[in-house]
Amino acid sequence: MSLIAPQEGWFQKKVSKDERMWIVISFFVCVFLFVWMVMWHVVGRQNPSNTTYKTNPIEFAQLHDAYVKKNMLGMDNGIPVVKPEPGSDVILMAQMWRWSPVLILKKDEWYNLHISSKDLLHGFSLQPSNMNFQVYPDYDYVLKFKPTQLGEAKILCNEYCGIGHHTMIGKILVIDSDEDLAKYGYDKLSTVRPGDSETNVTEDISGWTEEQLIKGGETVFNLKGCNACHKTDGTALIGPALNKLYGSKVKVNENGKIKEVTVDDDYITTSINEPQKQIVVGFENTAMAQMNLTPNEIKQITAYIKSLK
């Protein structure tokens, strides 16, 4: 069947001269386009090709934590700042809802940037260069990266990742020399981690009633986006449900060993400050985000969890 029935014996007929000419022209157009497909990688301003490795959120979080611990200069709004050596492997982790760490890179130097997600799909969008690609958990994307423009670039998340998605903005600062650090306010960084007793305690809440603490905890729970992963009606979402949790015994995975712990103030504090230390069995593959709550906020959250029946 065809739209117009071909003439009898068309298959055996000689191809005419003009038809042969079109075939030759089409062939060279195809070759030209194919060559440009490769050439854009060299001369075009398109996403660089990358190497991909297999990993998992827990392994990558361990790499991130070790990397930050080793190279941290200080903190910028609760996010560690690192200044990697040129040519070195650099870890950048996406999680709800931050990019960690803030990177200070030298202009025209090469870096191996390892990027992965700790929880779910995020989008890496480097602005104003407009370099975009998806960041999946379980995969480590290694970009050979050479910053060529001085100044501060922003990393936006361009894949919707929950209630705090719009706040997920990371930073890459490109400098010529260490003198530039002062220009961007990175010469006097706070060296205290959020969650340490000295930080962010703006109000004395020791006199608060239990009711005030619960109300405050509920606000923190919603504002910080805990509700994106934890339900309070008994259904497990990305993380375990929080009602009827306080005082109960839960099975946790601590460095591969399963043990039973009682949910009390200490357990909740540890779970928030060091989410990878004791992971509730069954939730090992959905690593909890580092929330960086202040001691005040943890106290209020604890009161709120305690009140959930």
Binding site: M1, S2, F11, Y53, K54, T55, Q62, A66, K70, H114
Partner: protein, 60 residues
Amino acid sequence: MSEQESQPKRASALQVVMDDVMLLLFLGVTIYAVFYLIWGVMEIATVPNIPEAVKQSILK
């Protein structure tokens, strides 16, 4: 008329494909889809783990 001429000529496989627009469309979509899927599965299945040397250089 000889015996050979009286028998209808059998069309070659290529001519059968060329004569059938729907078959051409089917093959054009299917061959591409199948090979693209196989390529994707091969790519995902062959992603290596992070090299131990890279891990140790960060962890140590």
